[in-house]
Symmetry: D2
Subunit: 338 residues, 4 copies
């Protein structure tokens, strides 16, 4: 049985925890290296749920040791930090999956505009494959370096791309009303995500300024081959995990609901992690702790209303990263994920 | 000091509880009658939080007793039941505020279409004043009978009407993405609102079929004088109370963000319960347990994004009902509500 | 590889859903039969999260069909219903794991007292093995019929038994302050578990009258060989899953904290699902969605304070049931559970 | 009508917010001064719910200005900071209510032991009246300086003191299993109170080391006149507000449940904020956003199980502080609190 030795770089955040949690159940994987600058305590004290499940120490980022220990690396670092670590890992011959935002926007100028930092690794930026398997599986299978999509962009692309691809909707009138559980904000405490501030409330944030908007736009333009204009308005929900996007699209003339359903069925035929909900609506609970994306579409007063739901930590981060690893190493796409 | 004796008809639901809670603090009110067919237990066992705060028994709907006991009646009944009780109360000379949906849609045919029940009190249907004080205060002050607006329609009307009134936005391209806490579903247990089904999840429901859509449309058409077309898509949030609507509107040519802000400031000048948020965004927590409606507006990629938040149980139900009572009895609009 | 064909009897409740969820990932299991009287809809509409993951219809309880289809049966029925179905399943030669309470209390009179129903299957009541693997693995390995412990009793027994076994604490002064997430209340809607009643509140219930108290007492007496007296006071927590019990025990003369820790280490050496927390305290989040029981012990003002946490749906129900199945079929205890 | 001008010292925390919220509704109070070292923004941006409700700037602690502006001061500062501000306020002639822990433990050595800081104001420490009105109303009425009790200690003292006072229970066998919503942890973000860490979990903390244990002990010893020994074990509940304590007490020989109920009825006759629940059990939801304390008592297997619930922010902090102010100024105890 094929076996992959995995290093986790940036071991102390939520995407790391989620990646470890899933990889511990993956039949073809052993975690062999945990790297972080913060190494005061064993991983099982940092994440009490891991007690007794993984004995590895947290070690510094020692490229020679990693090269010996691992075949693949998952980067669970914040942006900017990620692009400092990708080149040595690739040079050491590892296959690399980057869960940060550093290699998602293909245009270095756009990266600098949205992330307020010059891109320091433009060479690999252009080489990076965008890891959305439903649309880029062929490239991912041959890739040494995959940039894992953002959580909101995954749900948005899966919900919108089939209709754009099939030419069924206007490209300049796309409204994405998105909502996320709080794990999406990461593990660093902040006033906005302090429990008593975030519990029992619902509110939008970052209207017009969220970094996932240009990523969604780029992905939709890549898939459809056309310029796209969209509004992306995210909200916070008082729950741990889950993203659900309610997307408003304008059908082109004479397009029917059946046309839309057919487009989804064509696009996702044989894709193991997209589920069309024809008889009920998606909810975040039905995808929680799974790698599924659930999608429904309705026609209402002249608009398609598309609902797309994922677990932000799984299909929106760690699960999709493992799905990409599976493809990069010739494993079944679903290995360790069902 | 002016004093009002109040009867609550339909005392066992959440709107009743919320009305009682607020009226107990109202300096001009005494609750004198609690009517319900369900009268097995004292109100303080039904609602344990009322222990020691109200001693009234729950009594049958005895119109003679109510006529003697009360000057005003709040109907906290479900729809259909409400319209059976309104005529005797009005005939008995009480001022009546109906919190049900029975008198909101002015057209009996529309009522029958959406509520699947013929309207049995068409005479009072046309007499009922729609109790949205920010737009109909003059009529409310002279009314003997007020139909209290729905929760979603209150937030929608307050968020949209000023822009329509001022002619700043297209009337046929209005998208209302709404979300509500679970108290909005009422006090009757159901599989969908069972705690483990509703906790830790976010999902849309009733796309294209929610009864508040025609009410919103009617209110906006009444205020603006023009036909309106809209999408209304509600969602459920795992929290007790609060409604927040994110509304997408298309500005007419040459309309600016300042135009929009000016329209809101004009519309709500002197209105004590609408707060414009110019420096931050509304959230349901900031209006919880208050009668305020918080509104913000942004211009983003060619759309106005309006955010409107209320407490569904207060400005969306009991608080607005008391606000209407205040106006009907010549009290300050804010009496008992700040 | 050994393969087990499993029937789920009583397919429409939460313990069924949790059992299915875990068995779908079990390398040695195929679910072959889903039985229920309620069969109006496919299992994936009943439990939307199962969409695309299991295609079986829900069928009536046809013992001949079940005999052909399955090697083992999990009973996920309510009490009373369970004991009607156990005899035919055993007669048909299946190995049976009953997740209901019907075979937990070994004394039929005690069963009748607490469950208000005469026991109709006394023969199998005495034959049933109590499925707490940490203490009864030898019997479970040879059993054809296992009664799966209650959720609260599992956490209580694991927390208390080692200290009683080692004779370190008084047997007549045991206080169990327990708390559970709401999934423990089952899937049937009720006023007490309606979301707005249960959210944002914490409260005790059933003081002195909870059916798990005699089960805990019986288990502790069986393991320790001595009469035991205890208080068991359960509370509800506004969350989906998890049980945590804070247990107050009186050390016998001269007993130290080290004695207690040693007793736990001896009792749980080689037991894969009990984790002693020496450096931090258990919390329900750290065991959520796992089969682990986490235990800590402190000495404070002359008492041992023991903290014992499990996921009520996993180690407290479906996970422990599968652990029992593993033992009954000679599989590794952890198969499909890590 | 008697009028009180109030200064809030330390305006940026949750106890300040809660005090402001209640004082804005108090018929005899005007808030005239908000002091804090952190003054970057208006109070209505710091606390968005206050938008439009209070126009005061946040100002430095200027004792001359405060002396002119206010008759009473509420100290909402953290401990240590509070005792630096009390002397000048008392010297300026204000009546002072300190919501911090600085003046609760009457023994300076005990303060230093538990709070790791020498007490700098021993003179006022001995003068401070402990502001638990149910037991010390006479002293409070004559006090110029009141130390407001801690949240856990308020619930504990109200639940236990009547039984100790009446000599009905053992003084050396008191177990307090306490649980609190997260607002009790204050407004400063921390890893433990980050939403995703605190949501959907229940866990104990600070076993044997919580600072409220000695405060509870001192209060019970003061009221009963006897030495007391107790265990206090706090837990965190994923909700905003509320404390509920489940208290295990050993009845003295021949003491009955009726004796206990009589003791509570005697102790709380005429006390407006304590409610005995004879027919159901307390829950935090039933006291949320009120100044009530709800108490029930059961006799179970030889123990009294007492359940005591308050809102930690109201009866456990701001509400009780206002109750104390009412008494200090000769107002009805309930003014502004019902």
């Amino acid at each position: 049985m094929k076996h992959i030795r995995v290093a986790i770089i940036g071991a102390t955040g939520y995407t790391s925890l989620e990646t470890i949690r899933w990889l511990l159940k993956h039949p073809n994987v052993t975690i062999t290296y945990l790297a972080s600058r913060k190494q005061e305590q064993p991983i099982s004290e940092l994440f009490p749920e891991l007690l007794g499940r993984i004995q590895l120490p947290i070690a510094p980022f020692d490229i020679d040791a990693i090269k010996k220990a691992a075949d693949a690396a998952f980067l669970c670092l914040p942006h900017v930090a990620a692009m400092e670590h990708v080149p040595p890992l690739l040079d050491a011959g590892l296959k690399v999956i980057d869960l940060s935002a550093d290699y998602r926007l293909k245009d270095a100028a756009s990266y600098e505009k949205w992330y307020k930092h010059a891109h320091s690794d433009v060479k690999n930026l252009s080489a990076a494959v965008y890891g959305l398997p439903e649309f880029f599986a062929a490239e991912i299978k041959n890739a040494r370096f995959v940039s894992n999509p953002g959580c909101y962009p995954t749900a948005a692309a899966l919900g919108i791309a089939p209709l754009l691809q099939a030419g069924l909707v206007e490209t300049s009138d796309i409204i994405i009303n998105a909502a996320s559980g709080i794990s999406g904000a990461g593990r660093t405490p902040s006033p906005q995500h302090h429990f008593p501030e975030r519990n029992e409330t619902y509110e939008p944030y970052a209207i017009g300024s969220h970094r996932h908007a240009p990523e969604i736009q780029q992905t939709l333009e890549t898939i459809s081959g056309n310029p796209v204009q969209l509004l992306f308005v995210p909200h916070l929900i008082p729950m741990d995990r889950g993203i659900l996007e309610t997307i408003y699209l304008k059908p082109r003339s004479a397009v029917t609901l059946d046309d839309a359903i057919n487009a989804y069925e064509r696009a996702y035929s044989g894709k193991p992690f997209v589920r069309l909900r024809l008889n009920n609506l998606p909810g975040t609970k039905y995808v929680a702790n799974t790698n599924f994306a659930d999608i429904a579409v309705k026609l209402y007063n002249g608009r398609f209303v598309v609902v797309s739901a994922i677990d932000n930590m799984v299909k929106g981060a760690a699960g999709q990263a493992i799905e990409n690893m599976n493809l990069m190493f010739g494993l079944p796409e679903t290995a360790g994920l069902l």
